[in-house]
């Protein structure tokens, strides 16, 4: 299913396909015509994806077929060994975690997992964690510190789950604790927003030394829909809210919220997942190499300063 603004691209791609088939079936040479159309397709993709509105980027960030945490963990990493459970309440399928190697380096990984189809989405609660998920993440941070392994977190959640059980089990408490626990890591930590960075539920695994974001991913204090429902009293004003919230990778880099934007293949990660996964892998390898060997005190201070400095205000006259 293409996104609404991808329709012209899809139509042109279909046309090129048809021409190719025709040329083959009829044994005629249409290579010049096809080359022209392909050039046009390239321009069209470039025009479309370079000029996406913020709301369109929100749709790309949520697009079906976009690589999920497990896609990265099984393809960018090797030997992913999943570890389950929070040792208190259960196992949260919306938060996956474990041990893996990245380019020969042993790491601890934590990722928010959306479903790749409806059935998985339901079992993964659409990537919305309960307190159990954050407890699991904290367990992983303990492991990482104890065994001196760097941490990689993959952020992709609409937000922490707003439900009865989640509240009863202290959703706010556990998110605060997870933020605090992550800030205390004595090992290097890198977080990547791979899709949707939804509010506190995303930040809980985003208190890293380096925070990366994919070109078409978003990171926001509130979803555009909820923001619109509150401020415009109408959830259908979400496109306006998306514009106002300045939640794209480029915006966030300007705000200092993220440190690096990882480019996506032309047409978005959902159209070329393997290429996107390879780019993220290269970026992660570089980032971890840069943090290699830094002593705990330096890592802690760097993380402290990084988050301490965020925010804009003026000195009073």
């Amino acid at each position: 299913m293409p996104l609404p603004f991808e329709k012209p691209i899809e139509d042109l791609e279909a046309k090129i396909q048809d021409m190719r088939r025709y040329a083959e079936e009829q044994g005629v040479d249409l290579s010049e015509e096809i080359a022209l159309l392909e050039a046009r397709l390239d321009r069209l993709k470039r025009d479309t994806f370079e000029n996406l509105t913020r709301w369109q980027r929100v749709q790309v960030a949520r697009a079906a077929g976009r690589p999920t945490a497990l896609d990265y963990l099984t393809k960018a990493f090797s030997g992913f060994l999943e570890l389950h459970g929070d040792r208190t309440l259960g196992d949260d399928p919306a938060m996956v975690a474990g041990l893996a190697e990245l380019d020969g380096r042993q790491v601890v990984v934590v990722g928010q997992q959306k479903g790749r189809d409806t059935k998985e989405n339901i079992s993964r609660n659409f990537g919305m964690s309960h307190p159990s998920g954050y407890r699991k993440a904290m367990r992983m941070f303990d492991l990482a510190d104890k065994f001196r392994l760097p941490v990689v977190c993959l952020i992709d959640t609409p937000g922490a789950y707003p439900g009865l059980a989640a509240e009863e089990q202290g959703q706010a408490w556990v998110i605060a604790a997870c933020i605090q626990r992550m800030s205390r890591l004595e090992v290097p930590a890198v977080s990547v927003v791979i899709g949707e960075g939804g509010s506190g539920g995303a930040l809980a695994i985003g208190v890293a030394n380096r925070v990366l974001i994919l070109e078409n991913a978003i990171y926001s204090v509130i979803s555009p829909e909820s923001c619109a429902a509150i401020l415009w009293r109408d959830a259908s004003e979400a496109p306006k809210a998306a514009e106002a919230l300045k939640l794209t990778a480029k915006d966030l880099l300007e705000q200092g919220v993220v440190d690096r934007v990882v480019p996506e293949p032309l047409g978005g990660a959902h159209n070329s997942p393997d290429e996107a996964i390879a780019t993220v892998k290269r970026a992660l390898v570089e980032e971890l190499a840069a943090l290699d060997g830094l002593p705990p005190a330096v890592l802690l201070e760097q993380r402290y300063q990084r988050f301490r400095a965020l925010g804009r205000f003026a000195e009073a006259a």
Partner: protein, 295 residues
């Protein structure tokens, strides 16, 4: 019906909300008793008839907690800006201007030094009537500065929260205040200085999910709504009514989320008792151990 009533009764009264000159008498939101306004104020904004806790103005809160004449204000040296040039149905700058005029302060928090029962304290009080007590860059920065200064000066940290959560109009920068306030508290922890959080009505969203719930000891005021997601959001998600008292202080005490529910008239004494019990860690711990524990 009962549920509706529960949610209604803790809503701050309009009179305080807009700071309009109040009548001499008002009708209690909870028990409908006619209360003489002066009596309500003298009773720390608690209904003398039914004990319902109203939201308390910041200055009254400071007067109630600080030893007389000891409060010295720290906050106010910084002002909010409009980093995203945010406009919804109204520009953010206009909302800020109105809130400042109404509340007489640049943003939704007051911090300062004081003594409580003779203990040196950094006191943080949030103002729910300034844009819903929402936490943007200024609130986050003031709290972070207060925590760091408390660490430097060897003061305990006492925060009275009241907030709708992160301030949407500052986007992801607001979200980052959750991390900023959290890391600043580490300075305090490294000095083994106690932090007592007092959650007042309402404390929700990004404030609950950051510094508010990281107190060494957490007290809640009676009947306060304390949550991550608001009741309306949850109702929309699960499409059923919420149990009575859900997300209220007493419910959270039962669930193990707060150390106690403390009536306002007892609050200062309880906080002071905690400060007395937890202060002096530095003197007790050998130096090396302190350094090992410092993070």
């Amino acid at each position: 019906m009962a549920l509706e009533r529960l949610f209604r009764r803790n809503r701050p009264t309009r009179k305080e909300d807009d700071n309009s000159p109040a009548g001499l008498w008002l009708k209690c939101d909870a028990c409908s008793a006619q209360i003489y306004r002066k009596d309500l104020i003298a009773n720390l904004y608690v209904c003398p008839e039914c004990g319902h806790h109203y939201s308390m103005p910041v200055d009254a809160r400071i007067d109630m907690l600080a030893d007389p004449g000891t409060f010295e204000r720290w906050s106010g040296a910084i002002r909010p800006v409009d980093p995203l040039e945010f406009v919804d149905t109204q520009p953010y700058v206009e909302r800020l201007e109105k809130a400042e005029q109404k509340q007489g302060r640049p943003d939704a928090v007051v911090t300062g030094a004081c003594e409580m029962g003779g203990h040196p304290v950094a006191l943080v009080v949030m103002d729910f009537f300034f844009l819903g007590g929402s936490m943007g860059s200024v609130v986050g920065e003031e709290i972070a500065r207060a925590a760091e200064r408390a660490a430097d000066e060897g003061r305990a940290f006492v925060a009275v929260t009241a907030s709708g959560g992160a301030r949407m109009q500052e986007g992801a920068l607001s979200l980052m205040q959750m991390a900023k306030t959290t890391v600043a508290l580490e300075r305090l922890a490294a000095e083994r200085l106690p932090y007592v959080a007092v959650l007042s009505h309402p404390t929700t969203g990004g404030v609950t999910a950051s510094f508010a719930t990281l107190g060494d000891v957490i007290f809640a005021e009676p009947g306060a709504l304390i949550s991550f997601a608001g009741p309306r959001v949850i109702q929309q998600t699960i499409k059923q009514d919420l149990p009575e008292g859900f997300q209220r202080s007493e419910f959270l005490l039962q669930k193990g989320m707060v150390d106690d529910v403390v009536r306002r008239q007892d609050l200062k004494a309880r906080v002071v008792a905690v400060l007395k019990a937890l202060s002096g860690a530095k003197e007790r711990a050998p130096r090396e151990e302190l350094h090992a524990a410092a993070v």
